[in-house]
């Protein structure tokens, strides 16, 4: 039987990372729940064994059910019937399988029906689901919203909403964007007014591009402070579908992820509950929600990249031209090996980032129970800093890479890939959204550039360097040179103290840092398991040439060149806005 967990030994490898021991012990509060819950782990090894067993179930469902339904789901898509979103038949079967296996609300605490999983195994599950069907991954992955309710909701809200995920298989949606508020969420207009008579908040207005908009439980960003125009007037609300006060006006027709319904919603006096405090909607809660969603897109992108790689390999080993299977031609095996190497690198970065976020979150959660020791506080802050820049980094590099890997994979399929005969055609279309939603690549660069300007990336790179055991190895020398180049070129840009110039080069600088980080992660992986050594060598070669190109571009760029890029119509356009 196929199994997406057991056919990918990398998962086990990343579960065995030394930092995981600390995450699990903090998450499990030194394993004191095994007295009150008969399914709680007894110790670290038991917890890891449990994660593996559960991931094996996910892997089996992904291979047997979700992957086999993917084509049908893509064809059929969701429908709108009597103001209700009806999923494709396969989508319902996929969700049911995961629900029946108890896999909704995996990361929630046990007292709310969850499995109390750290993010690490949860993100692994998300990667597998995306490999099976990237569109479906959204519907399942929106259980992230439960985390946000857990983090910021009142005890009453937690008790009311959280058990519904695991017990009833509740679905969720993040209801943020509007026709005039896409990337720029500060402009959200959906109105929230407090009805004094009914003692309840009511929502009115339109939301657009809402993934899974007809979900059971929605987190809605709305303007609660009349007369405000920026982020400080926005609050976050829970809307319960049982109120039936939202009209699904339209389902978008899309290029990819067709199984995932994208809705236009009209709120008409929809009753809602305020989450946390007024005015903190965007600046605190949605930021947290977006960060987990970005990690989710990172996982989705790696899943898509892996699927595309496997399709390419399968096809190239089977297809013969000029008397031999095409995988034997240099032009083809180069592409395939580079795909594999990139997937290894992306996965290393994805799970490194996830561990950082886990460390931050377990401490934040612990803080609700007791005050942290000084050392713990410092550690939490350090991991929070890392999470803040690694999360947009993985979102940026993984989404871009999965697009290029899907491109190459389709290329290997030749004309056949352009037809609807093989999964790569769907994978190629599905990949496209990853670099757009939950913040475009360009916006991830804006968030991740802080890692460049504050030196967080560089510090972390130096930390990795200390961990390299073979001090004289060739890869390390190469990585040193790459680091020096990155350090000098980023300082040069930063020292010019020109924000526009920094914005202009931000993606390049972030990608340079990302390449070095992934290079080191593969070298360190190679120290634990030999099979990564080849990937490390090939990735660093690839990354080195990419970084040199970026270096040369930035190095030969004069600040005054910016003007050459500006179009004459700029000023006129700005006046219109």
């Amino acid at each position: 039987m196929d199994n997406f967990y057991t056919d990918t030994p990398d998962f086990k490898f990343h579960l065995e990372d030394p930092l995981v021991k600390k995450i699990v012990s903090l998450k499990e509060r030194n394993f004191n729940e095994s007295e009150s819950f008969d399914f709680a782990p007894l110790n670290h090894d038991d917890a890891i064994d449990t994660y593996e067993k559960i991931l094996e179930i996910v892997g089996e469902i992904c291979a047997d059910i979700i992957a086999s339904n993917a084509e049908g789901v893509d064809l059929e898509g969701p429908h709108l019937v009597n103001n209700e979103v009806i999923y494709a038949e396969g989508t319902n079967a996929d969700y049911k399988a995961l629900y029946d296996a108890g896999l909704i609300g995996m990361a929630l605490p046990r007292k709310y029906g969850g499995l109390n999983f750290p993010l690490l195994p949860y993100v692994m599950a998300a990667e597998m689901v995306a490999r099976a069907d990237a569109g479906f991954a959204n519907i399942w992955g929106l259980q992230d919203c439960a985390e946000t309710i857990y983090e910021f909701g009142s005890e009453e809200q937690k008790e009311k909403y959280l058990p519904r995920f695991n017990r009833d298989g509740a679905t969720a949606a993040m209801v943020l964007t509007e026709p005039d508020a896409g990337s720029d969420l500060q402009s959200v207009k959906l109105k929230a007014t407090f009805d004094e008579n009914e003692n309840i908040w009511k929502l009115n207005g339109v939301k657009r591009f809402i993934t899974n908009g007809d979900a059971d439980i929605s987190l809605v960003l709305a303007r609660s402070e009349e007369g405000t125009i920026d982020a400080r007037g926005l609050s976050m609300f829970i809307y319960d579908r049982n109120s039936r006060a939202v009209q699904v006006r339209h389902l978008e027709k899309k290029l990819g992820i067709k199984g995932s319904p994208t809705c236009e919603l009209v709120f008409k006096d929809a009753p809602a509950e305020l989450v946390g405090k007024e005015r903190f909607g965007l600046i605190k809660y949605v930021m947290a929600l977006m960060n987990s969603a970005r990690l989710g897109v990172g996982a989705q992108s790696v899943g898509i990249a892996d699927a595309a790689y496997r399709e390419a390999l399968k096809y190239a080993e089977d297809r013969a031209q000029f008397g031999k299977v095409i995988v034997r031609f240099p032009a083809v095996y180069e592409m395939i090996t580079n795909m594999r190497v990139r997937v290894d690198a992306l996965r290393a970065l994805l799970y490194e980032t996830t561990r950082f976020v886990d460390m931050q979150k377990v401490y934040e959660d612990l803080m609700k129970e007791r005050s942290l020791e000084k050392e713990e506080r410092l550690e939490m802050k350090a991991f929070a800093k890392l999470s803040n820049v690694f999360t947009p980094l993985i979102k940026l590099v993984a989404s871009e890479a999965c697009n290029s890997i899907a491109y190459d994979s389709l290329q290997i399929h030749g004309g056949t890939g352009f037809m609807k005969d093989f999964p790569i055609e769907r994978i190629y279309r599905d990949a496209r959204i990853t670099s757009i939603y939950e913040g475009t690549t360009q916006l991830q660069a804006v968030a991740a550039i802080k890692g460049v300007t504050t030196g967080i990336f560089l510090d972390q790179i130096k930390k990795y360097d200390l961990e390299v055991s073979d001090k004289n190895c060739e890869i390390r020398t190469k990585l040193h040179k790459m680091t020096e180049a990155y350090e000098s070129i980023s300082s040069r840009v930063i020292d010019l103290d020109n924000n526009e110039l920094l914005d202009f080069h931000s993606r390049r600088l972030v990608e340079m840092a990302g390449n070095i980080v992934m290079g080191y992660l593969l070298v360190l992986s190679g120290q634990r398991e030999e099979r990564f050594l080849k990937s490390a060598k090939l990735f660093v070669n690839l990354a080195n040439s990419e970084n040199r190109e970026r270096y040369e571009y930035i190095n030969s760029f004069e600040p005054s060149d910016l003007n050459l890029y500006k179009l004459a119509e700029f000023e006129e356009l700005e006046e219109q806005v």
Binding site: F39, N43, I57, A101, G102
Partner: protein, 293 residues
Amino acid sequence: MRALKIVVLAKQVPDTRHVGPDAMRPDGTVNRPKLQTVFNPDDLHALELALHIKDQIPETKVTVLTMGPKRAADIIREGYYRGADYGVMISDKRFGGADTLATSYTLVKAIQKLGDFDLILGGRQAIDGDTAQVGPQCADKLKIPQITYVDQIVEIKDDEIIARRRLEKGVETVSSPMPCLMTVHGSAPACRSRHAKRVMKYKYARTSTELNSKGTEDFLIDLHKKRSYLTIPEWSVEDIGAEMEKIGLSGSPTKVKSVESIVLTAKESKQLSEDDADIEMMIQELIEKHTIG
């Protein structure tokens, strides 16, 4: 609807999809220790039907009963993971080498020891023997009605059950008084997956033979003292009161004489013209021989 007591007969079988070169012994018998094992596929369908009844009538209790060597305890654990309430192992070296006659005798003795039941469900057949005899023999020995080839339970009344049978040329819906035995066809719904929380709860379920084997960690023994539901009952010849001459090799009249490897080859070929009548004739012939249709 009243709650039912259901026994699911399940067998651990070699995984025929992953067969290595040493799968058979020279004498033509299956070299079991060399093979990966799985839950017999038809038995999984039987378990699903039982669990489906439990979904509808939650007080229903499902017991998985299996006979086999030490490692067959995996079947009981798998049953727990998917939703069974209890599991019982019939394990004793003296049961070894049983054919269908001895197996059905042994299972029946164990079923009788379990006590009252309403329904016994088992797969139609096991992929290692393909006899489809054990279920019907059990019904015969228990002197209860049987419905074979079931793929759907249509209705459950107080003491009657209506089920649909999947036959070669169609379906047949029949009713039977309970208690009764059903063998379940592969066209029945696939078994649900393991449930995350149940896996966590039951992953340390062990038979006492497993617990007493070398290398068992202390924490496991302590855990079994605290959580008695983790200890899988393991019944021997004496436990079920079986007669020695009716079990194992001595109770098995079936002997494998020899096994031949048969390579299927085409014996004759037919040339067809593109004529419609010719093609029509060929189609008719294929339908008559049940090759298609």
